[in-house]
Amino acid sequence: MTAADQWFADVLPMPAKIRNLPELADLIPDGALLAVPPEYSFVPMALVHQLIRRRARRLRLLCVPLGGLAVDLLIGAGCVAEIEAAAVSLGENGPAPQFTRAALTGRVKIVDSTCPAIHTALQASEKGVPFMPLGGIIGSDIEAHRSDWRIVDDPLQQGNGPIILIPAIQPEFAIFHSPLADKNGNVWVGRRRELVTMAHAAKRTLVTAERICDEDLLDNEQTAAGTLPALYVSGLAEVKNGAKPLGLTGCYERDSAAITVYAHQASTDAGFADYLAPILAASPPASP
């Protein structure tokens, strides 16, 4: 798809980009490569639930760089064919049960990476270059199993020895949930700038937000500094509590008790099915 095609399909007048949650989830086709933020960074849980409800299949997940509850749920619900991550866990609530099981059974293809390699791969896409170099890693078994990574001898020939080149990764979609967006499609990300890199690297970015305000976030130097411009946002939906049970900076804390319950239930197939049932049965949150 050319730049022009993409813009044609995508850069509609801004108000048309504001959608409801099911419309947003429907934009993501089965098989899509999806960049997902880490547990500490604006995880779009409501959108993940909606993807499960619409029975998304064969998704390929890129964790930026770590996976957590969202990824574990999608795996358990059968939405995932492949996952690349530096690690997947429920953080302080322990291992990610469905991920762990999938890894041991081979039901999901797992591409193991390391945090800076994932950041670097996205930065390469952000800059439109086919690869970027990264220090370290040589001699790790991660590298030994990554046939897509390439060790080359110092291309500057300055005696710096071998270095790894990480190929660019261009996700088809980046998704996240923000505390605040505006009606023009600009989205607050604050200091969570991995979301900026994700959006720059991805072909399309879909965002849910606690609130969509009338004031343009770019009209004020202070909010502009922490804002991803609408230029990179293909779809936006207002969803209250869209990160729960995970936390959202300044809005609500992580519900550790709820995640402990999940960790327990998800450790068996029956328990996981019980956890999933109300998500599948729920109506998507109505748009305001």
């Binding site: 050319t2 730049a3 022009a4 993409q6 813009w7 044609f8 995508d10 850069v11 509609l12 007048p13 896409s125 952000e126 800059k127 439109g128 270059v129 600009n186 900026v196 720059h200 690297a201 770019l218 009209d219 004020n220 130097e221 202070q222 502009a224 500094a225 922490g226 804002t227 991803l228 411009p229 609408a230 230029l231 990179y232």
Partner: protein, 253 residues
């Protein structure tokens, strides 16, 4: 309806931008005519066209620092961009740096800016250089800030598509590596273009006259775009549209 030379050029550029394959145009620093054309094309295209004017904050959504323009273009999100040149040659090589035998220059200009990159990654580069003279349009530039053409082994999706001067509109065919005269502006002739161009270019049998701006276009330009471009280029807006600067930058913390 009479119009100023700047308004005419804005009209020519606007028509180049109002094309279905252009979804996002970026305009570099110190480019009031291209900037006004971009905003006018946006307005007349029903806001389908996204416009980024790097100069100032008024029509500039970038929040990731000076590299964002280049990253954005590298991502394929910019479809059109303007470049100029103190010299431009028949292969569409542009020189923004100086004349003479680099580094022993006779005249030195600011430098190449981002041209060496943008020319490769933006699919529709419009060369805009009002002065149409043999001083500017030379057989071969003294210094290639950015080459018009690249060999088949070089990754390149971008390059020159058109050249707009005070005399005419040319297109550029990257396959044959040559400019082609598309139209001559009202009041000028093919001979005048030939006389003032130092490189060879194709001249079709019939060369149409460049369309003059319509009344509707001029009305939109003066009433809607004048005040907008004044936010970025107050002196230009005062001079061309007799509009005094309204906008103040947003307040900081």
């Amino acid at each position: 309806m009479t119009y100023k030379p700047q308004e005419f050029l804005i009209s020519v550029l606007t028509n180049l931008l109002n094309q279905p394959h252009i979804g996002h145009v970026a305009v570099g620093a110190a480019s009031p005519i291209p900037g006004a054309a971009a905003l006018l094309a946006q307005k007349r295209g029903g806001d389908r066209l996204a416009v980024t004017i790097i100069h100032g904050n008024a029509h500039n959504a970038f929040t990731d620092g000076g590299r964002e323009l280049f990253d954005c273009a590298g991502q394929g999100r910019i479809d059109a961009f303007f470049l100029g040149g103190v010299q431009i040659d028949g292969q569409a090589n542009i020189n923004l740096l100086g004349t003479g035998n680099y580094p022993s220059l006779e005249r030195r200009f600011a430098g190449s800016f981002g041209s060496a990159y943008m020319y490769f990654v933006v699919p529709n580069v419009i060369l805009f250089r009002p002065e149409h003279s043999r001083r500017v349009f030379v057989e071969k530039v003294d210094f290639i800030s950015a080459p018009g053409l690249s060999g088949p082994d070089v990754q390149r999706r971008g390059g020159p598509k058109a050249l707009v001067t005070e005399l005419c509109l040319m297109s550029f065919d990257a396959v044959v590596g040559k400019f082609r005269l598309e139209s001559v502006h009202p009041g000028h002739s093919v001979e005048e273009v030939l006389d003032n161009t130092g490189f060879a270019f194709d001249v079709p049998e019939q060369v149409p006259q460049t369309a003059a701006p319509s009344e509707a276009l001029l009305r939109d330009l003066r009433s809607l775009i004048g005040p907008e471009i004044a936010k970025t280029y107050p002196e230009f807006a005062a001079q061309v549209f007799a509009i005094s600067a309204p906008a103040k930058g947003p307040e900081i913390i």
